[in-house]
Amino acid sequence: MKHDEAEDIVKEALTDVVPEADLTTLGPDETFRDALGMDSLDFLSFIEILTRRTGVRIDDEDAPHLTTLADSTGFLLARTE
């Protein structure tokens, strides 16, 4: 998977869960749970969508690596290498 492709998947998953989000103003290292006002059910939907689209299994241990656009993209890239 290429970087841009992984980032698009993360952005699409966020937009699916938080359709009102304006991702153009979201910095790559901004914590999206705070910036987009996501609750814990939103976050759960987000990781379920990522798993469905990429086949990557995401465990509770992985949650600390899924907090920003940059680290989520990096996480998908590392897991699909």
């Binding site: 009102e20 749970r33 996501m38 949650a63």
Partner: protein
């Protein structure tokens, strides 16, 4: 499937406060429970904040840690009872300096931070009224509650104020003071810095005389129709917070206690703030969001002994984080300090009760209560067996029953009053005999709805339940259209009203769709105005519209287009029928439907 009853080891590490259920029920009286509290010195009444803070602060317990606050980054700060007494006195003086007095309402829109405790308890010291809001509410629910609750003061953060209040401020002329916790007040017109006001205030404050019947807390809850209802609670409720936390949470003074509920809801207030402090325990306060590993770490590192959480959170834990294998081959998280786990908010499925037993080494004790009751009413107890899936039995001092239902699904009310169901396992409306100290004293400015909540000498809960032959209660569902999602009550009318403000929407009907994680999620059926096409992009736009207005806690998570919403002859959308269709259930008597068979 039937689940095996969980029997208790008779040698618990700590002797349970309620050892003999029948005896405790027979001997308990609320007036004796009242005597376990101090009351204001010189007989000046009963004040929640005095019982929670000051009565410890002046004793050898003053140096004990009251709050152990965990910031998002994991930093731990502690607040002792004496420090809390000083901070809450300062805030009471801040209120006084602003001209805020007895009966004036102070709202909080804050996360789980130390300042929340200062504001709640300082407000109560000042004999003002505290109304908490949930920080995941959107601007609509926030504005509506501030207006309905006659907010004079709001304490919040700069980020929450900008996102949820600033634009609506002109619509709230009664909101005289907005206090900003943390940085940012100087950039926000019409706000004051909480920190600056606190720094200038004295740490000494004499609590004025407080009648046990003085209003203390205002909690908004949702009904089937109309606006949210503000349930009024009085200072005397602290008697019930104290007694029930002893019985249903088995709190002992040496406990480290963690209530995960958000302070924006009644659980986070009654059992997150008041009850643990009245018991003089150390309360863990976590500012962070749900995160399974973080939660296990908190339970472990903070040596939490009593944990009060919610079914949705437990089900989230169940889906991941496989526990370590213990020596005997069983998978158990190693949490030696933890001795009691309880849950509330929605019915706890038997799988979750048993999961606790298998992976925490402790079964989960479900209990039941609601905003109006102010305290736990029905519970599973530390010393008693658990029937997985049951909410347990009424607490000492609580009389519960199941009432026969009428056509509309609620208790049948006739000229002769109501009729209790005496046969076991018959479904009816759960009802409670009024008289416990934390019973709500009214809905703010809505006497009619308050009166409608009682019949034949009972408070009607709106929940359906059955009682088995041994007296255990089992939750069945709601008797009305209110939606229980992730432990929160959501009024369908509030959601429908918001959606109908979108120009594409002609009508909306909102129901709870069963969900394995949240219990129910909010689903909206929407009919569109003539000429509007039901496209995927419109669906997304409506979801976004709902979230922007209502926030994630209330907004629909699913939208379905339906140009033929079922309606009564009078034109009301039939949510009951939408729900029956969604679940594939028989739709019942359709004779009152418009254009029906």
């Amino acid at each position: 499937m039937t689940w095996e009853t969980i029997r208790k080891d008779t040698t618990a590490q700590v002797a349970p406060n309620l050892a003999d259920y029948a005896r405790e029920r027979a001997e308990f009286t609320w007036s004796r429970a009242r005597k376990r509290l101090d009351g204001l010195p010189c007989g000046r009444g009963l004040n929640m904040a005095y019982e929670a803070v000051d009565r410890h602060a002046g004793t050898t317990r003053g140096g004990k840690v009251a709050l152990r606050c965990l910031a998002r980054d994991g930093t731990v700060t502690t607040v002792t009872y004496t420090e809390l007494a000083c901070r809450t006195a300062r805030f009471a003086n801040v209120l006084r300096s602003l001209g805020v007095g007895r009966g004036d309402t102070v709202f909080t829109l804050l996360g789980r931070c130390p300042e929340l405790y200062t504001v709640v308890l300082g407000t109560l010291k000042n004999t003002s009224v505290l109304c908490p809001l949930f920080s995941a509410f959107g601007p609509d629910p926030v504005e509506q509650r501030l207006r309905l609750g006659d907010a004079l003061v709001l304490v919040t953060t700069a980020a929450l104020y900008r996102r949820k209040v600033a634009e609506r401020r002109p619509e709230l002329p009664g909101l005289a003071h907005v206090l900003i916790v943390g940085p940012g007040a100087e950039e926000l017109p019409g706000t004051l810095s909480f920190d600056a006001l606190m720094a200038a205030a004295s740490g000494h404050f004499a609590i004025p005389p407080t009648s046990p019947e003085d209003m203390a807390l205002l909690h908004f809850t949702s009904g089937t129709t109309g606006t949210p209802k503000g349930a009024i609670h009085v200072h005397e409720a602290v008697v019930a917070h104290h007694a029930t936390a002893a019985y249903a949470l088995d709190l002992h003074p040496e406990d480290v206690y963690w209530c995960t509920a958000d302070p924006g809801w009644v659980t986070g207030m009654s059992y997150g703030v008041i009850a643990p402090l009245v018991h003089g325990v150390t309360a863990v306060v976590d500012e962070g969001d749900y995160d399974a590993l973080r939660w296990y770490r908190i339970l472990d590192e903070q040596r939490v002994s009593v944990w009060y959480t919610a079914p949705t959170a437990l089900r989230m834990l169940m889906r991941g984080a496989p526990p370590r294998q213990s020596n005997d081959g069983r998978a158990v998280h190693d949490l030696p300090a933890l001795r009691f786990v309880a849950s509330v908010g929605e019915p706890l499925n038997p799988e979750a009760v048993v999961w606790g037993q298998e992976s925490l080494g402790l079964p989960v004790h479900d209990n039941w209560w609601q905003t109006e009751t102010g305290c736990i009413m029905i519970a599973n107890f530390a010393a008693c067996e658990i029937r997985p899936g049951s909410m347990g039995r009424p607490l000492p001092g609580v009389e519960a029953t199941v009432l026969e239902r009428g056509e509309d699904g609620r208790a049948r009310i006739t000229d002769n009053g109501v009729r209790a169901v005496h046969e076991p396992d018959v479904v009816g409306e759960l009802a409670l005999r009024p008289g416990w100290p934390s019973m709500f004293r009214g809905y703010l400015h809505d006497e009619k709805r308050y009166e409608a909540a009682f019949a034949g000498g009972w408070y009607l809960t709106g929940d359906l339940a059955r009682r088995d032959e041994d007296g255990w209660y089992w939750f069945v569902g709601r008797a009305d259209d209110v939606i229980k999602s992730a432990g929160h009550l959501i009024g369908p009318f509030e959601v429908e009203s918001a959606l109908m403000e979108h120009p594409a929407v002609a009508e909306a009907g909102v129901i709870g769709r069963p969900d394995p994680m949240a219990g129910n999620i909010v689903k909206a059926f929407v009919s569109l105005r003539p000429g509007v096409e039901p496209t995927a992009s419109l669906e997304r736009e409506l979801l976004a519209f709902g979230r922007r207005r209502l926030g994630p806690a209330v907004a629909p998570r699913e939208i379905a287009f339906d140009q033929n919403l079922p309606k009564t002859r009078s034109g009301k959308v039939m949510r009951r029928l939408l729900r029956a269709r969604e679940l594939g259930l028989p739709t019942g008597d359709l004779s009152t439907l418009e254009g029906s068979v």
